[in-house]
């Protein structure tokens, strides 16, 4: 399957810190006397992408698209049903937990809910220092010093070492989560919706912090979110997911200036912009209906049930994820033309777009 359109021929594999190939994760639904599997939730249904060292790779999509499941597959918190997860040249897809454990030093995760992801019975010093303790790094004094260092770096007062999570605000808790993730100096951080639960003014602070840390520590970042503006701001390349598949993969600017897949177009069109002229006299694409169930996804192109450009072929032949223009990939039989893109996004030349 052709992926990573930007890879120059003959480039060393080392360039990619993380490679995902045909990754699949199905969750069985069991019913009946013998608990036979009657159906499956096709959470992730064959996705492939590469993440280069030092890159910030974005995964964007709405609920049920599989991005959170992908995050957990990549960090091996889940085991793939099939497919490969290759980290730093090693295929870790089927490794048992004890073999993966040493890798956890290099691969860390930041979670969405700052209120649920911290153990309320532990002091934040303990929480942040736990990775060091579990991997047997340094003695108590050294760990404490390191924890204080990290706390200061993320903007927390090191003297609050002994306080408990409930004494902190949402934004501060998220900083604690970040501190815990970076204390081991990882190479790769997977951030699953790290700012969605935060107030707008705090989001910006935390995003800036992530960017600074990334630049200082040379981190590779997989950034998952549903907020397109945030993803665009943070990421070099972005994959758009829908019902377990990647429908478009392009560099940040490219994706937003010239989306190819109609779903991407609809997503961009749906984001309300904080501008006085917003929404006035502009017709956007508003998708009809709801996202189909991942238990019984539509045939061939999964988006065809809601796509205003759909033709018969879309329900018969699944469009492959392939190059649709320089340096980007989309899975669509009828990608958006430049004219359609103009009509969808906030351009001065507003056109009418048929809206079924």
């Amino acid at each position: 399957m052709a992926v990573a359109a930007e890879r120059a021929p003959g480039a060393a594999v080392d360039e990619n810190l993380l490679v995902v190939r045909d990754l699949v994760k199905h969750f069985p639904i069991r019913k009946g006397l013998l608990q036979r599997e009657v159906a499956r939730v096709h959470a992730v249904d064959g996705i492939s992408f590469d993440v280069r060292r030092g890159e910030t790779f974005g995964l964007v999509g709405e609920s049920g698209c599989g991005k959170s499941t992908t995050a957990r597959l990549v960090t091996r918190l889940l085991t793939p049903t099939s497919g490969q997860v290759v980290y730093d040249g090693q295929d870790i897809s089927t490794w048992p937990e004890r073999r993966i454990r040493p890798l956890r030093r290099d691969v860390q995760m930041i979670f969405q809910d700052p209120y649920a992801s911290l153990n309320p019975r532990r002091s934040i010093g303990t929480i942040i220092g736990e990775p060091l303790r579990l991997l047997g790094i340094g003695d108590r004094e050294e760990r404490r010093t390191r924890v204080r260092e990290v706390m200061e770096r993320v903007g927390l007062n090191p003297e609050h070492f002994n306080r408990y999570p409930h004494e902190f605000s949402g934004g501060q808790r998220q900083r604690i989560g970040i501190a815990r993730a970076i204390v081991l100096r990882p190479k790769l951080i997977v951030a699953d919706e790290p700012v969605s639960a935060l107030d707008v003014s705090i989001q910006a602070q935390v995003l800036n912090l992530l960017q600074e840390l990334r630049d200082e520590m040379g981190l590779t970042l997989v950034f998952i979110a549903h907020d397109l503006s945030v993803v665009r701001h943070m990421c070099d390349r972005i994959a758009v997911m829908y019902l377990g598949k990647i429908v478009e993969l392009a560099s940040g600017d490219r994706l937003y200036d010239h989306p190819r897949h109609p779903y991407t177009g609809a997503l961009l069109s749906a984001v309300p912009t904080p501008k006085a002229s917003a929404g006035r006299g502009r017709r956007r694409v508003v998708l009809q209906g709801d996202v189909p169930s991942p238990v019984a996804p539509p045939s061939a192109c999964r988006f065809h049930t809601r796509c205003w450009k759909a033709q018969p072929i879309c329900s018969e032949v699944e469009p492959p994820l392939e190059s649709k223009g320089p340096r980007d990939l989309a899975a669509c039989h009828f990608p958006l033309t430049d004219g359609e893109v103009e009509a969808l996004t906030e351009r001065p030349e507003v056109g009418q777009l048929p809206n079924e």
Binding site: E62, V200, S201, Q203, Q211, L228, H233, P272, A276
Partner: protein, 338 residues
């Protein structure tokens, strides 16, 4: 003559940690057929203000003062009995999370029928028919079957539509929507906002839309109020708020959002610090600890909400010319703000 007028509303709650001053001296007005956007982050007091309109904050530990004038009556001092006749029928409210806001044990159709029969003495089958029509009008397919669905059997978007159907079933004069799309995906959000717009235009309902999302406000509102720490900091028409905002907090909000319609910038410009405690509110201007431009008076006295132009109220010590100048220079630095 405004449809709803809130005058100097104060709401505070006695808690074990102290007195939480959730709403301090808020005054707003809503005209018929207009949409008022109330913008604020957590702790701004926007939800408490909205809920107080319907008397939903009348807890034993609450102290409420001020006036909320509706149809010649003061809702603050109105008896709960009288208020109940207004709830749902004249003023209706929808909430953020439709899954938790609908009763999990009752069918959706039943809950809407209940909303109708509280206020109108109609037979069950008539109410049922009206409910099915209401579900149809909000775009729920197969409404006859959906009548018998439980909330958890519907998708998030459909649930919110059902809540809207329930709120508008009796054609209220005012719809209060408290973060109606925050829990929804962005494409579903677009659907729901479009629905609210359409129904608003069809029925002539006035809407109070509460949100933290400036984009939503830009799309939906005629007038906007920006709240912070229980106070109104700025109030203006939508046009004015986005082209000539005059409060440093509003500027901060506009600057700190990554924008789709502008080139990518290196770093965002966040507002420093975090929202204040509502128990220990900062002295002077509540925003001054986070304000890059705070003049000396801001440390001592709270500024009053004063008009800088007709219809544009700002609560700030900085002189008007100074504010306009600062906004100009901010726009020069960040072209996206134009």
């Amino acid at each position: 003559m405004p449809l709803l007028e809130i005058e100097d509303l104060h709401v505070s709650f006695k808690t074990m940690d102290g007195v939480v001053r959730a709403v301090e001296g808020v005054s707003l007005s809503l005209d018929a057929r207009k949409t008022l956007g109330v913008v604020g982050e957590s702790g701004s007091g926007k939800s408490v203000t909205a809920q107080t309109i319907l008397g939903l904050t009348r807890f034993p530990n609450a102290t409420i003062s001020g006036r909320i004038m509706f149809d010649g009556h003061d809702l603050v001092t109105m008896s709960t009995d009288h208020l109940r006749s207004i709830r749902g029928a004249r003023i209706a409210m929808i909430f953020q999370d439709p899954l938790s806001s609908l009763h999990p044990f009752f069918k959706v159709g039943h809950q809407i029928v209940e909303a109708i029969r509280v206020h109108e003495d109609v037979p069950r089958d008539v109410a049922r028919r009206r409910t099915i029509e209401a579900l149809r009008s909000v775009g729920i397919p197969s409404p006859e079957e959906r009548f018998d669905s439980f909330p958890h059997e519907m998708s998030g978007g459909m649930r919110q539509r059902a809540m809207i159907a329930m709120a508008l079933a009796l054609r209220p004069d005012i719809l209060i929507a408290d973060e109606p799309t925050t829990a929804l995906d962005v494409t579903v959000q677009a659907q729901v906002l479009e629905l609210i717009q359409a129904l608003r235009d069809d029925f002539g309902t006035a809407v109070i839309l509460i949100t933290h999302d400036l984009g939503v406000v830009a799309q939906m509102a005629d007038d906007v109020v920006v709240m912070y720490a229980g106070r109104v900091l700025e109030q203006a028409s939508r046009e004015t708020l986005f082209t000539e905002p005059e409060h440093p907090y509003t500027w901060g909000l506009l600057q700190s959002i990554p924008r789709l319609d502008a080139p990518r910038t290196g770093r965002l410009s966040p507002i420093a610090g975090s929202p204040p405690s509502l128990i220990n509110v900062p002295r002077g201007c509540t925003f001054h600890p986070r304000c890059p431009y705070a003049p000396p008076p801001a440390f001592e006295t709270e500024p009053a909400l004063a008009p800088s132009e007709p219809g544009h109220l700002v609560r700030c010590h900085l002189p008007v010319e100074e504010r306009k100048r600062l906004w100009q220079s901010l726009q020069n630095e960040h072209p996206a703000l134009r």
